[in-house]
């Protein structure tokens, strides 16, 4: 994630982004890597991560005008959308390929996954395979209920502070701490 961003500046940018593509582009550039990383670490699948990331930003753009500054940063709002997308994806039986491609097409976007530079994807898949420790944990984690997956991913994969996790999940910090503790215990039982 990018370094600390002045919240006033960001607030102004979000306001601008509702009408000016260049302002939205700036927000996108700030948060793409973080959101893609989060989606990838939650799903351990590059193509799914692409879909989830696309879906997150499309939703963010479509809902931007509804974003309200309630002491919640724009970044947390994006994570929240991404978390919803991912949970929805996991909830679908058999973890089938998400519907997001169709949804995107309905909205007039033509995803490029079929014609994407394939070498990049192949190389990235190779690279992903080298994170064996991570993949072992991840495969267990996805078997847990979504609320445990989220809190573990945000804390240990995304290295978020409790305060920020609370903001993303819309829960109190105390609630997050106890949820986290329960989540680690659940994960331990399945390891």
């Amino acid at each position: 994630m990018p370094a600390d961003i002045d919240l006033n500046e960001e607030r102004e940018l979000v306001k601008q982004a509702q009408k000016a593509p260049d302002a939205f582009a700036e927000l996108y550039d700030r948060y793409y890597a973080g959101i893609f990383g989060y989606c990838l670490r939650r799903t351990a699948d590059l193509e799914t991560a692409q879909d989830m990331t696309s879906e997150t930003f499309v939703k963010a753009l479509n809902k931007l005008w509804q974003f309200r500054w309630r002491n919640v940063s724009f970044s947390s709002w994006l994570y929240k959308i991404a978390a919803n997308e991912i949970n929805q994806y996991f909830r679908k039986a058999g973890h089938k390929k998400s519907v997001s491609l169709e949804e995107l097409q309905e909205q007039g976007f033509e995803p490029i996954s079929t014609s994407d530079p394939e070498t990049e994807l192949i190389e990235a898949q190779e690279e992903l395979r080298q994170y064996q420790d991570f993949l072992e944990i991840q495969v267990k984690l996805v078997e847990l209920p979504a609320r445990y997956q989220e809190v573990i991913a945000l804390r240990f994969f995304e290295k978020k502070q409790i305060k920020e996790i609370a903001e993303i999940l819309g829960k109190k910090e105390g609630t997050v701490k106890s949820l986290l503790s329960r989540a680690v215990e659940k994960l331990r039982q399945s390891c």
Partner: protein
């Protein structure tokens, strides 16, 4: 494994940090070109593009020059000769030799933000006099620039019916008499309706299918270079509406490419469409026109070009469609140009402009201007020329008495502003240059032999320029006041209305404040005076008129001025004195503000009309841009004022503003939406997007 051990393992876990630059770039492009930005994008085209082009263009110009120097079939780029290609091979070679895009498109995808963006005037579903209608006829027309040249809009009226473009629908409403108002028919389209014309018993609908992405390999496949390309399609449908309840489709035209703008003169609708010329496997695409099911590829030998250097090329096609006679085949002319950025249409000519960026150190940016003569279905490309600087919008251009006039801003080396007069061969005959150094043009308006120009950085100079002698234009006078105008509208021959924002000086720049309407007296041209002004709201207030003059309604004979405004108020208790200058207010009202304008009394707020049903929506911040209860247009028929939002048409008495009636539109099925669940909240699926919040399990 123990709990602590797992914790330790998790804390030290090495997680994958992998990026996919292809996805990143393509998604970025898709988002920035989405329909979301369609109606609001690129208010300042040049500004959006400037930082990118600065970086890119050097590379491009080097490439261009390299090519040109080494045996191009064209002797020199930059001369004004107009030719048609002699063969497909010549066109192919021209594109291959002269277009620089192969080298940089993908690497600097930002450049594309501007390349395909529509001109400011057409982006917003877009006067001296109003269109058909105007005072005297009993109803108001679209706020157009040139008498006799109608402009497409999302709302039209013929004095009895109101026609609306709303999403993928065109809706016909019987509007008069007001107490019997009702929807009589709806036409559904596959794509998004950009705007409409109404001409007697004919309705012309311009529609665009959402752009999608294809990737074209613009180099050898071995190099794995991809070029993202948007392939929008434009449809033009003509309906017979002699029975308003049953519109019947008479003809359907479509083209690949992006709708730029359109006008209607007499019975002819003229539409301008651009499509990039690109190379794929050594083939160069040619524009295609589909007319009632028949496809016609424009042959290379029909395509005009003038050897204007650019880093990419587009086909700009002008089509003429007879709206009354369905048997008359549409005619068209195609020119290979840079991407058109602005367009001005007089009753006899279409002027297309596009920016030409400097090619060397100290070489400023220029605007390339192309004149296309139109007369009925004859479309002829007749002249081109060039002026220094960039054009802001259609109102920066004008044709009068056999001369073309244009106001530009030069961005390089500190802003400078200029006005040029050109003859019909588009050679400069006279100019006024270097006005208001450091500032830029916010609005321009030509009225006969005069030009009024607003430039701004800290205060707003309103310049009065005399253009009666095309060989020797001169600045007659100027007025400095606070604030600026984004739009200038003639009140009468010696008075102008300015619509913009108030500002407060902050040393080296100024903070925008509320929406400001001014009335200027220019009868003493050396001493223009602001005789009246009114400011609505605090910082954060806004009006669509600032971006799209079609939202403006003015009728001098009725002393009537109506414009949609979202009014914001700053809670002064929340901010320190220092913060107050830049504090944004909260929106407290959105609606049509109705003013009384006279020379004696100045501008007075008469009343306001809102479509907002739940004031809490405003507090929640829903009002912002895509709120269906936001008033977008207003018009009058007889003594009834009609205000139009996506949700409804409301009718009020023009004199008293008393409520008469309203018609709900299909856009009104909107429900507020809760993006952030409040404690205890849950992130279980569908909290975002569907409007529901599920409780924690």
């Amino acid at each position: 494994m123990k709990h602590e051990d797992l914790l330790k393992k998790l804390e030290g876990l090495k997680t994958p940090e992998i990026g996919l630059s292809g996805h990143r770039q393509t998604l970025r492009m898709a988002l920035l070109h989405s329909a979301r930005f369609r109606r609001r994008t690129a208010m300042d085209w040049a500004k959006v593009l400037a930082p990118v082009t600065a970086a890119v263009l050097l590379v491009v110009s080097l490439a261009l020059f390299g090519v040109v120097g080494s045996g191009s079939i064209f002797p020199s780029l930059g001369d004004n000769q107009i030719s048609q290609f002699s063969s497909y091979q010549q066109l192919q070679q021209f594109v291959q030799n002269n277009a620089g895009y192969k080298e940089f498109y993908w690497g600097v995808a930002d450049g594309l933000v501007g390349l395909f963006s529509r001109s400011p005037e057409s982006n917003a579903l877009v006067l001296v006099p109003a269109a058909p209608g105007d005072s005297g006829s009993g109803y108001s027309g679209t706020n157009i620039q040139v008498a006799g040249v109608d402009e497409v809009d999302i709302v039209k009226t013929d004095g009895e019916y109101i026609y609306l473009a709303s999403g993928n629908k065109t809706i016909i409403v019987r509007a008069y008499p007001a107490d019997e108002a009702q929807i009589v028919s709806e036409i559904e389209s596959a794509g998004t309706v950009i705007g409409i014309f109404v001409n007697g018993d004919r309705l012309v609908v311009f529609e665009e299918e959402s752009p999608y992405y294809a990737l074209y390999d613009v180099r050898d496949s071995a190099d794995k270079f991809y070029m993202p390309y948007i392939a929008p399609k434009t449809y033009i449908r003509v309906y017979d509406i002699s029975d308003r309840a049953n519109p019947t489709l008479q003809r359907e035209l479509s083209t690949d490419g992006q709708y730029v703008s359109s006008r209607m003169i007499g019975e002819y609708a003229y539409v301008v469409i651009t499509e990039p010329a690109y190379q794929q496997d050594d083939e160069v695409n040619l524009p295609k026109i589909y007319s009632d099911g028949n496809e016609r590829e424009v042959p290379a030998t029909d395509i005009y070009y003038s050897a204007v250097a650019d880093y990419y090329y587009t086909y700009t096609t002008v089509m003429a469609i007879n709206t009354q006679d369905d048997n008359e085949e549409p005619t068209s002319a195609t020119i290979l140009l840079g991407a058109s950025s602005n367009l001005y249409v007089s009753t006899d000519n279409i002027y297309l402009t596009f920016p030409v960026w400097g090619t060397g150190v100290g070489d400023s940016e220029k605007t390339s201007i192309h004149r296309i003569q139109i007369s009925g279905n004859n479309i002829t490309y007749v002249a081109n020329g060039e002026v220094p600087g960039m054009v802001l919008n259609q109102y920066s251009m004008d044709e009068y008495d056999g001369y073309f006039r244009v106001a530009t801003t030069t961005w390089n080396e500190g802003n400078r502003n200029n006005v040029y007069v050109l003859n019909m061969s588009l050679n400069i005959t006279g100019s006024v240059e270097n006005l208001a150094p450091g500032e830029r043009i916010y609005s321009a308006r030509f009225m006969g032999g005069r030009c009024y120009l607003v430039t701004f950085k800290q205060v707003d100079p309103l310049f009065v320029i005399d253009l009666n002698d095309p060989y020797d234009p001169e600045v007659l006078g100027y007025l400095k006041v606070t604030g600026y105008s984004d739009y200038l509208h003639p009140y009468d021959e010696t008075h102008i209305i300015g619509i913009g924002k108030e500002t407060t000086d902050a040393g080296t720049f100024a903070w925008y404040q509320g929406v400001k309407i001014s009335l200027f007296d220019v009868s003493d041209v050396r001493n223009p005076v602001e005789i009246s002004k009114i400011e609505i709201g605090d910082r954060g207030s806004d009006s669509p008129v600032l971006y799209d003059p079609k939202a403006f309604l003015f009728d001098r004979s009725r002393n009537l001025l109506v414009m949609p405004i979202s009014e914001a108020k700053v809670d002064v208790t929340k901010y320190s004195e220092e913060e107050l200058a830049w504090a944004y207010g909260e929106t407290i009202y959105q609606g049509a503000y109705v003013f009384n304008v006279t020379l004696d009394q100045g501008i007075q707020l008469k009343g306001r009309i809102t479509h907002v049903e739940n004031p809490e929506d405003l507090e929640q911040g829903y009002y912002y841009y895509y709120y269906p209860f936001a008033v977008e247009r207003s018009l009058y028929i007889g003594n009834v004022l009609y205000t139009i939002s996506q949700a409804k048409i409301m009718m009020n008495d023009l004199g008293t503003l008393d409520y008469i009636n309203e018609v709900a539109l299909p856009g009104s099925t909107w429900a507020p939406y809760e993006p952030l669940p409040v404690e205890p909240g849950s992130v279980e699926p569908s909290g975002v997007g569907s409007g529901t919040v599920e409780p924690t399990k």
